[in-house]
Amino acid sequence: MHLTRRQTLGLCAGATVLATIGPAIPAAFADAAAAERSLMEFTGGKTPEAGKITLTAPEIAENGNTVPLSISVEGEMTEASYVQSVLLLADGNPNPGVATFHFSPMSGRASATTRMRLAKTQTVIAVAKMSDGSVYMDKKQVKVTIGGCGG
């Protein structure tokens, strides 16, 4: 991953804010590898493609305790073909799992909104599994000013 100067500055500023006013963060955090493991468990070893699923999250979350998050998946919702489930992961939380949504043809539209906790600035990942077994992914980085786990 290449960081531009602006991103680097932003990260440093974020880290300083966390260090000075943020709550004490528990030592054990999930890492990208743990998130990857949960992802592979969900997809059954398939690498998800980009597209179809859209993850909407704020770019900067002032309060990590309640970060609004929406997902929506394109595609029809019929008995023959529908969006089965969507897994949400946060790779910088103590545990990467956030929630798994299960849809049905009765859902009409595969979209859902919830509010989640984010311990620190990190990437949120959404993976959709279709009834035919194909998987799609979207991810978004959310900058967190005050973490939302423990403290």
Binding site: A99, H102, M106, C149
Partner: protein
């Protein structure tokens, strides 16, 4: 904490085949199991771990929940209404308690 109180919002009547949006909220601390009390001991985890919505007994939407979902968990999702009936909402707590709510809808 007081007994969790579920709240659900959905239209009272719709045209057949329309997709409606349902909003649900339940008051619950969602104790993550990561926080410590004043003596430095971990506060045990106590969250709502499962939410589901059924329409006339058929599953519409459900959700497995981890501690990373915020306190007073909020869910917004869609459902297609083909006939009049009742939506049943169920929240399952870590301690085994089950909280439910029901809402009738009329299809015109």
């Amino acid at each position: 904490m007081a007994v969790p109180k579920p709240r659900v919002k959905l239209p009272k009547s719709v045209a057949a085949g329309d997709v409606i949006t349902i909003k649900t909220l339940i008051s619950h601390d969602m104790e993550s199991g990561q926080r410590k009390d004043k003596e430095g001991k971990l506060i045990p985890r106590k969250i709502i771990n499962k939410f589901s919505c059924e329409f006339n007994g058929k599953p519409v939407f459900s959700c497995d929940i981890e501690p990373a979902v915020s306190a007073n968990p909020y869910f917004e999702f869609d459902a297609k209404a083909m006939e009049s009936g009742t939506f049943k909402f169920t929240w399952v707590d870590d301690d085994g308690s089950i909280y439910t709510d029901e809402q009738a809808i009329e299809v015109k």
